[in-house]
């Protein structure tokens, strides 16, 4: 991309991008080495938000750890809550009432919508269009209202429990959810018209940071980032858990419609399309939710059997896998949380080579990373 002549010697410049930078989505720090505007090397430096969540896990009980999973990925706290609950249930082989599983799926998919909305909104803001961001926030507020109605909080929900959920849906919740879906679905087309297919936007994203399928797999990309490379792998479909097999939905993959398969635009478009699929899932779940209890009997002093388990679930930012080792006591012996964003950052240095500074922003946005999940 650059041509350098000996007659005009130029020098590389090191720029510190972050941890306070508007578009590093938190406290990511990237050390850029640039040749003019062209990035020759971008080394991510993570860990500014490290709160030792894994160490805390060894100190608290299984039930007490639930609120900490909220802080794992605060834009998709429901998904993290449920991931933790599912992991412990898998370890202790607890049967969960079906209604609870349905409620979990509803909240997970609603949270996926709200999380992807933020991804969409902040991405457009990164690209310089501020208006779609506020539209996205507006829609997300409605999801938050729903969650507030359900569990009393707007951001850190702490809704799932080992063996079920904290409470049944209050009267009117399901109707309100349906109303929201009816309101929300047409908005997606509006977003597409407003920005997704905007010429400038497409130009900014298409053919930028192309990740071929094999590379995506080798680097452990998961979730929308993997599917953006055209790999149709979705844990909800391919390694079904909870009641996901009962729903009819499509796995969205990148198609390379505006550029090369696996570019930023594909990753972006996968998210937009996934919101539509999530709407579909929530619609089905709301229609079919059975009656019954929402919480299995779990002893207050819960001690799972000795063992090791690894459970992964599809979170908005990729696979959240929890490796849980129990020594039979009330506290987990060791727990390791493998988060989508953390593993995704691994490929960052590779894909940003040779891009421009503005593209680095585009790459960060297209990965939809979130720092609390990276730094834990």
């Amino acid at each position: 991309m650059t041509t350098r002549t000996d007659a005009l010697p130029t020098q590389e410049m090191t720029i510190n991008m972050g941890p306070q930078h508007p578009s590093t989505h938190g406290v990511l720090r990237v050390i850029l080495t640039t040749d003019g505007e062209v990035v020759t090397r971008a080394v991510p430096d993570v860990g500014y938000l490290h709160r030792a969540l894994e160490k805390i896990g060894e100190r608290v009980t299984y039930a007490q750890y639930m609120p900490f999973t909220d802080r794992l990925d605060y834009l998709a706290a429901m998904n993290c809550n449920c991931a933790w609950a599912w992991t412990v249930e898998k370890l202790a082989k607890i049967e969960v009432p079906e209604r609870a599983e349905y409620l979990r799926v509803i909240v997970c998919e609603l949270n996926r919508i709200s999380s992807h909305l933020i991804a969409f909104g902040s991405y457009t803001a990164d690209m310089g269009a501020f208006t779609p961001f506020l539209y996205a926030i507006r829609e997300r507020e409605q999801v938050n209202d729903l969650f507030e109605m359900l569990c009393g909080n707007r951001l850190t929900y702490n809704y799932a429990r080992v063996g079920g959920v904290s409470g049944d849906a209050p009267p009117g919740f399901l109707e309100k959810t349906r109303e929201f879906l009816d309101y929300f679905e047409p908005k997606l087309d509006e977003y597409n018209n407003l920005i997704s297919y905007n010429k400038i936007f497409v130009h900014r994203l298409a053919n930028v940071a192309v990740i071929p399928a094999e590379e995506a797999v080798a680097y452990g990309l998961t979730g929308p980032n993997l599917r953006g490379s055209g790999v149709p792998f979705d844990l909800r479909k391919d390694e079904p858990y909870s009641v996901y097999p009962k729903f009819d939905f499509k796995v969205c993959v990148g198609t390379g419609e505006r550029g090369t398969l696996g570019d930023c635009f594909d990753r972006y478009m996968v998210r937009i399309n996934e919101m539509r699929e999530s709407v579909k899932i929530v619609r089905q779940a709301v229609a079919r939710i059975p009656d019954g209890p929402v919480r299995a009997k779990v002893p207050r002093l819960f001690k799972p059997p000795v063992g090791e388990t690894y459970f992964r679930s599809e979170c908005p930012r990729g696979e959240t896998g929890i490796y849980l080792i129990s020594d039979g006591s009330v506290n987990p012996f060791r727990l390791k949380i493998r988060t989508g964003s953390f593993v995704t950052m691994n490929i960052f240095e590779k894909v940003t080579r040779g891009l421009m500074i503005a593209d680095v922003v585009a790459v960060i946005g297209s990965f939809d990373i979130i720092l609390p999940e990276i730094d834990r």
Binding site: A63, G152, N153, T156, N158, P170, N193, L194, N198, I200
Partner: protein, 207 residues
């Protein structure tokens, strides 16, 4: 780039821009689309089960310590002593709202439903100390002293009763015998408790 692609590029740019501008114009013109809530004047309706500040109804609280144990961030602290009627008496019940993460686990475990989330969410203070909610206004040491006094009184009463029972035992009245035996047992227990609590309360009183 052929001429056709070139012109196509231009047309596409104009068309997509126009499409986007139509949408923004619609929002710009339509005042009904405004969703802002003018916060201090307008407030949203707080749903039932909202997890706001914690409130403990100390009248019903049994000082069972469950909330303290379950709190993942140790924001609740309570002190209690055993009272004259063998129930725990709260001396202090503090919640550090600055530390609380509103997870609701404590409310869930409360066996008598005395600990509850209120709908309060507004708090600003210049001092971290103000973030600690004291649910018992009285000084902990005073309560302890008072309880210790009560316990001692009860013990004395029990001892008296025991003495009376002994006296009545000497008189060989069969019926209240087991009653007094119980009383004697109780009396035997209580002074122990009182002894255990009294020295603890005493130095604090000096402070």
């Amino acid at each position: 780039m052929g001429l056709k692609a070139y012109l196509n590029d231009i047309v596409e740019a104009v068309v997509t821009t126009a499409k986007g501008m139509r949408i923004t114009a619609r929002y710009g013109v339509n005042p009904k689309e405004e969703v802002t809530l003018q916060y201090p004047e307008e407030r949203w309706e707080i749903p039932q089960g909202y997890r706001g500040f914690l409130h403990n109804d100390i009248k019903t609280c049994t000082a069972c310590n469950m909330c303290v144990k379950v709190c993942p961030v140790d924001c609740i602290s309570l002190e209690s002593v055993r009272g004259a009627d063998k129930k725990m008496v709260l001396c202090s019940y503090d919640i550090n709202i600055g530390r609380c993460m509103y997870c609701g686990l404590c409310v869930e475990v409360c066996p008598v439903n005395s600990l509850k989330h209120t709908s309060g969410y507004e708090m600003a203070s210049a001092d971290r100390g103000e973030m600690i909610l004291h649910f018992i206004a009285e000084d902990a040491a005073e309560i302890k002293a008072r309880v210790a006094r009560q316990v001692a009184e009860a013990a004395a009463k029990a001892a008296e009763a025991a003495k009376a029972a002994e006296a009545s035992k000497a008189a060989e009245v069969p019926k209240p015998a087991d009653l007094s035996a119980e009383a004697a047992k109780a009396g035997g227990d209580d002074p122990k408790a009182a002894k255990a609590e009294a020295p603890k309360a005493a130095p604090e009183k000096k402070e």
